[in-house]
Symmetry: C2
Subunit: 304 residues, 2 copies
């Protein structure tokens, strides 16, 4: 019997790659020690039909391709060093659309203060943008270096993009889908205070399980998730579970971090404490009504 890659899914495919290469850091980025510092490197490929909503402008596509890569640098607390752009597009793409796409990339590089240093162009049946972000960091913020009793926090509201995918008007939800911004400045401050960090791309639940280590667990409080009445109402209008949107969709590009209770008052960025690191070995949610439920390990996964 012949198996297809979709029979085992993206996570298992990645395990196959990692198990065959001893040099991969299982974190947001690669970390390569070099001359008393660390080179931080990461790559993310975006494919038009998979990653760009139909109503996204070419400028916003280009900007997002930089954002998704810089977001990984932010999660390590790295200072941006350079961006490489490998891009493919159809022969019959309008020249104006091409220019808008490139302008989006260049504006994003300016916004994040990461110089565009090189790249490659190609022809394909749809737009494909593969970015590589390079950074520097003396003490990278790893994913799972938290301690028992640390607080769990996020740099902004979670689930907005998840709801935005269902809407078309111009509002805070669709804005988060079309114009996501990486938390690079916050990451540079967090590296001096946080005990660990990652960025939220595949959903809060998926990231919590991603950072979970044996013997540790997390308790999250619904009443700390800053869920607005408007968010709940719109979710109901679309027959969607608002907690599902918050936990299991992603594309937030916020940072999820842990921090010692002793250091939380010194933090000079906007953030929202949503829970605590426990020794329960489970990931749980305390609902508004006081009931405690398990959070499922379910998030966005390619090739399923």
């Amino acid at each position: 019997m012949s198996f297809k890659v979709s029979d085992i899914g993206e996570k298992e495919l990645i395990k196959y790659i990692i198990s065959n290469s001893k040099n991969i850091t299982p974190d947001d980025t690669a970390v390569t020690p070099f001359n008393f510092s660390n080179l931080i490197s990461t790559c993310d490929m975006l494919i038009q039909s998979k990653h760009f909503p139909e109503n996204m402008s070419y400028f916003d596509m280009g900007f997002k391709a930089v954002t998704v890569n810089v977001s990984d640098l932010a999660a390590m607390g790295a200072k941006p060093l350079g961006f490489l752009l490998a891009i493919a597009f159809p022969k019959d793409l309008n020249l104006d659309s091409f220019k808008q796409l490139i302008d989006g990339v260049i504006n994003a590089c300016d916004y994040y203060e990461i110089p565009l240093i090189g790249g490659d162009t190609n022809e394909a049946s749809e737009i494909i943008i593969s970015g590589t972000a390079l950074g520097l960091c003396d003490n990278p913020l790893m994913k799972n270096t938290y301690n028992l009793g640390d607080l769990i926090a996020v740099t902004g509201d979670i689930g907005l993009a998840a709801l935005g995918f269902n809407l078309t008007d111009d509002n805070i939800y669709t804005n988060k889908v079309l114009k996501p911004r990486a938390r690079i400045k916050e990451g540079l401050i967090l590296k001096n205070y946080a005990t660990s960090a990652t960025d939220i791309t595949d959903g809060l639940a998926s990231e919590l399980y991603e950072i979970k280590k044996d013997g540790f667990g997390f308790i999250i409080y619904e009443d700390k998730l800053n869920i607005s009445d408007d968010f709940k109402k719109l979710s109901r209008d679309f027959n969607l579970d608002y907690l599902d949107l918050i936990f299991h969709v992603g594309e937030d590009f916020e940072l999820l971090f842990t921090i010692s209770k002793d250091d939380i008052d010194d933090l000079t960025i906007d953030f929202n404490v949503i829970g605590e690191v426990t020794d329960s070995d489970v990931v749980e949610l305390v609902l508004d009504d006081g009931n405690v439920v398990g959070i499922k390990n379910k998030g966005y996964e390619h090739l399923c």
Copy 2:
């Protein structure tokens, strides 16, 4: 009137990108000063229907994706530091084919002694491999730093792949198409002797024009190009011009370099002197019959 990208072609599109970004080094790779050395970085995207011949194995596709990137490091004389792999493939790809592809990447990383340090996986309608190669070099070998009277040389025979694209049997020509190897060891030696270097991917003519600077020219000698009778015969059999194969196709992955006449005898690698740097401002070929002809600036270009 609305222009398409194909109306202006890849070279003009790249000019648009470079003219809008002050940080791009117009060379084989980016060069970023980094903790008392230089970080060398480059990315190349390969797309199944454009870059992989139909008879190429999945293993060889994976290997080639590393080779094309490492070849750019070789052209700078850089020491490999790390490789990032962003890969997309169809959902219904056989699991065995996926594993062969990854094994090709990992074998290539071992062969070139470049650790696979990170990556990204995605779904697409065909196989897309976007690699990023990182390296280090104190004194990178740039493209156009040659002097009048320097010799022009190559690390191996040119045109073999160009002929191989027309053949199907297992021979030196198809082998060069299916199993190209980057000249990383040669690059590391050349950086101590050569005055400039680049790798030959888009054809010898295209690369000569790529490295040409105002006031300088090149004279190439047909009788130094090491063209075998077999090569000429096979070209005739397929109704192809053997000089066109040598100058205007590419995919050689050999290094084209310049070197002072004083240093040529100290060079410990295999190479072939093919010509000389002149002050003629033209790129010329001395044919076997003694006639001198201009070499056209024509090579492989996407999006035309």
